[in-house]
């Protein structure tokens, strides 16, 4: 019973500081929201790059020459196997300096996240392609389509539909991973909340606000992809009776 008093006391103090915390959040909010735009550009850019590279990688790994398949397997292993932070430092402080390339931290963040995402996305697409019945490709070939046409017009339109649930996963992972790019000084949500927090000593409210912004962005993105999934659904085609 005795320890309840100091606990209650602490709680009261926290309530007392609530207005102060709210003010800190309100003050920082425009600045943080600008950061969320930076975060979104990094995430969408990385997803786009990951898609542009991941789709051909998946096709190559399923239909390609054995040597190409081996090469892609190594690529995927490489980009999935090294921590993001190591890659960011390796690329930004290492490669860019060594090769005397002048890239902004923002650009490096998109490229590195995009390359890593391409490895993950390629496996999402590969799984979808492999889940299609073999007869789809056979029927396309039987019409006289080249493999390139069959893949472009028959295989990918179906495989990409099946990939949307996996994409929603990839989006939420990228969104959270993008916080790591603060280590390069990219002015995204995490970097900005850290900056304000250390300046004002309002750590709790600011990181709380950052967390909430991430939650909202995750919700909005997965909701958006869910709507896309609905829109792209093929009528009558519901393998699980949904």
């Amino acid at each position: 019973m005795r320890h309840r008093v100091p606990l209650f006391h602490t709680f009261l103090k926290a309530i007392e500081r609530m207005p102060e915390s709210l003010i800190a959040i309100m003050d920082a909010l425009p600045y943080l929201l600008q950061g969320s735009i930076v975060t979104l550009i990094v995430v969408v850019g990385a997803m786009g790059l990951g898609f542009a590279l991941g789709a051909p990688l998946a096709v190559g790994q399923v239909y390609g020459h054995p040597v190409l398949r081996r090469f892609i397997a190594v690529y995927v292993w490489f980009f999935r196997g090294i921590p993001l932070l190591v890659f960011l430092f390796l690329f930004y402080f290492g490669l860019c300096t060594a090769l005397d390339i002048n890239l902004s931290a923002f650009t490096v963040a998109i490229i590195v996240l995009g390359l890593i995402s391409s490895a993950y996305q390629s496996q999402i697409f590969r799984g979808s392609i492999l889940s299609l019945p073999e007869g789809q490709l056979k029927a396309a070939r039987a019409l006289g389509m080249s493999d390139f046409k069959a893949i472009s017009f028959i295989i990918l339109p179906q495989a990409l539909r099946l990939s949307i649930p996996g994409w929603s996963n990839e989006y939420s992972i990228l969104l959270k991973d993008s916080a790591v790019t603060y280590a390069l000084g990219v002015a995204e949500i995490m970097a900005r909340s850290h900056f304000v927090a250390t300046r004002t000593y309002q750590h709790l409210p600011l990181y709380f606000a950052a967390g909430v912004i991430f939650l909202v962005l995750t919700w909005a993105g997965t909701k958006g992809l869910r709507l896309l999934e609905e829109r792209a659904r093929i009528p009558g085609y519901s393998p699980h009776g949904l």
Partner: protein, 252 residues
Amino acid sequence: MTAPILRIENISKRYGKKDVLKGASLDVKKGDLKILIGPSGAGKSTLLQCINFLVKPDEGRIWLDEQEVHYANKRDLYAYRQKVGMIFQDFNLFDHLTALENVRIGMVRVKGMGKAEAGERAVLELERVGLKEHMQKYPAQLSGGQKQRVSIARALAMDPRVMLLDEPTSALDPELIGEVHAVIRDLGNNGMTMIMATHQIGFASSLASEILFMEDGRILERGTPDKIFNHAENARTQEFCSKITELYGERG
């Protein structure tokens, strides 16, 4: 004597150590309907898929309209496949396209026709198989018999010289077989050249110009329906025909 439209010579296929096809040869004349019968694993499906090189034969040569097909040359191969329509046991309609789009896509993407012109033709072909009113439906919204009729329309839209049918009614409920048979019979009456694998011997004997009995990768015996079903020389042919007659009833 007219030259064969399709000439197949000595086609062989091996999977690992197993010889699936051991030198099958066949001449098909315009308007012929050749029916392949035989037990599962006899090589009927492999032979049909070798004919349009969906399965690459290890040996053998094929001529269409007296032109040898050099399938290693992609351009030749794609041109040849356009002229050889293929109907699969499990339909293989493109699941993300409507019936109309399924029929149209070959004309647009392979033959390079305009969408409007190809669409008109697609409607005609769907009408021919009795599915005009279902043309906006997706495969998942069609019955098995309707799907197979769409797949026939899809093949016909390419103006094939020859059609290959790989057990087109094997995956269908008995009551849906009739509508597909009617379409195939109609094709035959209009002079379409066809090679078909089937267990429906009633249908086969009423329509076939020749029956080929396959077993163990070889064409063991061939002849008119009457000869194969009633006066077969080979003991295995007799045995198979009597069994399948028991199973599938009347001989049509």
